[in-house]
């Protein structure tokens, strides 16, 4: 065990178990389609998530068109608007961000970064993707079923989610719940893989405290997801029963449109507890991988070790643990017993402390660095700004009494888009620019990348920063039009129109990004194995893109932590993790 993570060691323990023979594909189908190679699965996950994410992007355009220019577009009515917001939210949070960070980045980076040949359960890993794909198909099919997708809001609160006053009450909600159940089954298969791989398949010398923060973030997020998703799973099953079998888990006695219903005795608030027991950790399931990845982006491109590595690891773990006891801050005005407010406000604000430590350490890593303003670095800087902004508005909403006027207003929409929409997407994009060379062997075009960054970052900020102030004024969320109200001034409509125009521009800028992805694949500058001169293992593979089994004949051996940048006295400004320390340097380092 290495006590001080940044000290290199010469002695590396011997392998505890011999290597297991990998599964080798025998045909084109098992190599590229039903592949058990984590890297192929990662790309399958990423492409599927991106495809459904583009649907969600188009939905956001529809919403912004309606909000910016109400009544102009005859093809958007109140019901469709609700269907758009529901599908947009659900796709973005679960089917895009969760799948991309864990299924995409997790699959690609974990085995490479810990020095393994593949995930430990490759077959289950493959199944995980195909079940995920099925979940996406079921979800997408709701656009074509009678009644369309559900319009219950992404939170799916009963009773309205399964009553006829809500669009998509027939097929829409049933397929949505089924799709969620499938997603969770698929995720669980993948998630067990990631956890066991990190714990059991690390190469010699790769202690836990030498893991890159990317792996720490994905690892912690996966454990959280394995604990949190079951709450959503049971909630989905129970609501399906309520809808299909007439049980009353979440349904009290009620009257619908003048008709007495047969339900009775259930509790709508029970659903909210289950949903948010999943839903709040979910925020961090998306955020922690982003925290980890952005730490590595900043460190690599500032040519400086991440500041306070141990504190960063403990902050990730502390945030992960605390996030399980803050869920009811989503429910301050739900009608739950008001005394809960004291407890949940306190825990929620406490979580700000480890989160703030992470922010300080990111900016302190920049201090006295050698900052290369590459595209990944720009996205990392954009992440810090949007995350700090969104994190600080969380201190408004987490503080129970401040939440009372702001809950269910556009302030909330602005807050969570900034903190778990824009900020993680900044990391996703930065990470794609960073690791694309490893995946394809070619660099993404720099000019297109910079254009993409500035339009996306400034545009997203211009949309969501002013949106807070609409919420402060009192504009409620989930309204397809504000309608007549004395406190709504004409300037509100002007601002809405402005945000909509910017949203269209930001959306269009993503086309440049997609074009860049395709164009660079064929015409991009060849990158070589380690274009960013990074220390972590994935850049030290014998081939780029890494071949089947990642490491050729010999597994790499790790002698040092992941952040040996600009070490005094070293020949270059980075030392790869698998480079043994020189005798002379070592004698100087150990007393």
């Amino acid at each position: 065990m290495v006590d001080v993570p940044y000290e290199a060691t010469v002695d590396v323990p011997p392998a505890e178990v011999p290597e297991v023979e990998l599964y080798h594909p025998k045909s084109w189908w098992t190599q590229y389609v039903f592949s058990q190679d984590a890297k192929v699965i990662a790309i399958q996950y990423s492409l599927t998530a991106t495809a459904i994410g583009l649907v969600a992007l188009v939905l956001s355009w529809m919403m912004r068109l309606q909000l910016g220019f109400p009544g102009t577009f005859s093809f958007i009515d109140a019901s469709q608007y609700l269907q758009f917001i529901t599908m947009h939210g659900m796709i973005m949070v679960i089917y895009l961000l969760t799948a991309l960070f864990l299924g995409g980045f997790g699959n690609y980076l974990i085995p490479l970064m810990v020095g393994a040949r593949d995930m430990v359960f490759p077959y289950v890993n493959m199944l995980s993707y195909w079940v995920y794909l099925l979940a996406v198909i079921v979800l997408a099919s709701t656009f074509f079923v009678p009644g369309g997708p559900t319009g219950a809001g992404w939170t799916l609160y009963p009773p309205q989610a399964i009553l006829s006053g809500t669009p998509g009450q027939d097929w829409g909600i049933i397929l949505m719940l089924s799709s969620l159940i499938l997603f969770i089954i698929g995720f669980t298969m993948g998630g067990l893989n990631y956890v066991v791989t990190v714990l059991q398949a690390r190469t010699r010398g790769m202690t836990l405290m030498r893991l890159p923060l990317t792996v720490w973030g994905i690892f912690t997020a996966t454990i959280m997801a394995l604990l949190a998703f079951p709450a959503l799973f049971v909630a989905s099953v129970m609501m399906l029963f309520d809808r299909l079998l007439g049980t009353s888990f979440f349904m009290p006695a009620l009257v619908e449109m003048g008709q007495q219903m047969k339900y009775g005795g259930g509790s709508p608030i029970l659903f909210q507890h289950l949903f948010w027991f999943f839903g709040h950790p979910e925020v961090y399931i998306v955020a922690l991988p982003a925290f980890g990845i952005v730490s590595d982006l900043i460190s690599t491109h500032a040519r400086k070790n991440i500041f306070g590595y141990r504190m960063m690891v403990w902050a990730i773990v502390a945030i992960g643990a605390l996030s399980f006891i803050v869920w009811a801050h989503h429910m301050y005005v739900s009608g739950m017993h008001p005394t809960f407010g004291f407890f949940f406000a306190t825990t929620t604000l406490i979580i700000a402390i480890p989160t703030a430590i992470k922010v300080y350490n990111w900016v302190l890593t920049l201090w006295r660095g050698d900052i290369h303003l590459t595209v990944p670095m720009l996205f990392a800087l954009g992440f810090i700004i949007t995350f700090v902004n969104g994190g600080l508005t969380g201190l408004f909403l987490g503080n129970v009494v401040v939440d009372v006027p702001l809950s269910d207003t556009m302030f909330v929409v602005a807050h969570f888009h900034m903190v778990m929409g824009v900020a993680p997407i900044m990391v996703v994009l930065g990470a794609i620019y960073h690791w694309y060379p490893k995946v394809t062997g070619r660099m993404l075009d720099d000019w297109m990348g910079k254009f993409h960054f500035w339009v996306t970052f400034l545009g997203a900020y211009l949309i969501f920063f002013p949106m807070h102030y609409l919420g402060l004024l009192g504009v409620p969320r989930r309204y397809h039009e504000i309608g007549e109200a004395a406190f709504i001034t004409p300037s509100v409509h002007t601002l809405n129109a402005f945000m909509s125009v910017v949203a269209l521009i930001v959306g269009l800028a993503q086309i440049v990004f997609l074009f860049n992805l395709v164009w660079s694949y064929f015409k991009g500058r060849p990158s070589g194995g380690n274009p960013w001169r990074a220390t972590t293992l994935e850049w030290q593979t014998p081939e780029t893109p890494p071949g089947h089994g990642n490491w050729g004949k010999e597994l790499p051996v790790v002698y040092r932590w992941a952040y040996d940048y600009s070490v005094p006295g070293a020949k270059e400004d980075f030392i790869p993790q698998n480079q043994p320390p020189a005798r002379r340097a070592l004698q100087g380092a150990t007393p």
């Binding site: 006053g165 709508p268 009372v404």
Partner: protein
């Protein structure tokens, strides 16, 4: 250089936008000025942190961006600095949390002299009920809801007979008197939301929720629904009119009791006039 300037402009622009934004909260109409104060404290603290972090970051980009021959400083950790930053953050968090919890305590402590009123939500309209001369509201049950009895009052409960039932979508309140607003729904979740009141709370079928407030100024206020309740969520509107006591009493005189509305007017009109005797 340009990058550092843009980053700084984002921070400066955000602060300027905050100062000059024409979009700010509505003039408050209840005693919950403390909530606004807590928001202001939070704005000051978070605004300072936001500006400091972004400005520091912009400075780093300006000062330490890559130049030929620059080497980054090697500095793995600094326990002392990390602890001081943590402690400073904890103090800032405490400075927001303490007033927040203090005001929350007031928010959940209903004064004994608060008059009760009831608001009921259903897709997609609001109904209101006042206790009537006997000062007590009758019991209700969703199973009693019908076209003649939309609020589901219990016909056999003597306390309910003189309850004032308001289906016009226009509620009146006397200024300066604390009121406990009981909230009920017969179908889905709703949320009784008047931006000027600051207080709001979900209405949940199967249970009664509440908040309290004291209206401090007269006026007409829009009621909106703040919890998604189906296709016509955005159209679920009503009005609350806060007025002086005399006007309020004049309005109250004209309202009908449950008994009157449900056709037992002959008997109960007398009950109402005599105050329940």
């Amino acid at each position: 250089m340009i990058v550092a300037i843009i980053l700084l402009l984002v921070a400066v622009g955000s602060v300027l936008f905050h100062i000059y934004s024409p979009w700010w909260w509505t003039p408050i109409a209840t005693n919950w000025r403390y909530i606004d104060d807590t928001i202001n404290i939070t704005f000051w603290i978070t605004g300072a942190v936001f500006f400091a972090v972004i400005a520091f970051m912009a400075y780093c980009v300006f000062r330490f961006h890559h130049k030929e021959g620059r080497q980054a400083h090697y500095n793995p950790e600094n326990k002392k600095l990390e602890w001081w930053l943590s402690i400073g953050t904890a103090v800032g968090v405490g400075a927001m949390l303490a007033p927040g919890l203090f005001v929350w305590h007031q928010f959940v402590t209903v004064p004994a002299n608060a008059a009760e009123i009831e608001v009921m939500g259903q897709q997609w309209q609001w109904s209101f009920r006042l206790p009537g001369k006997d000062g007590r509201m009758g019991t209700t049950d969703v199973r009693h809801v019908s076209a003649e009895n939309p609020m589901g009052l219990n016909r056999d409960d003597p306390h309910g007979q003189d309850d004032v039932v308001i289906e016009s979508g226009e509620m009146h309140l006397p200024v300066g008197k604390p009121v406990k607003v009981l909230l009920r729904s017969v179908d889905v979740l709703h949320d009784f939301y008047v931006p000027e009141f600051r207080a709001k709370m979900d209405m949940v079928p199967g249970m009664v929720t509440y908040f309290w407030m004291t209206p401090i100024r007269t006026g007409t206020f829009d009621v909106l629904c703040a919890e998604l309740c189906g296709a016509a969520h955005a159209q679920m509107r009503a009005k609350v009119i806060v007025e002086e006591e005399a006007e309020y009493q004049a309005w109250l005189e004209q309202q009908k009791t449950f008994a009157e509305l449900s056709g037992r007017s002959a008997v109960t009109r007398a009950t109402y006039r005599s105050g329940g005797k």
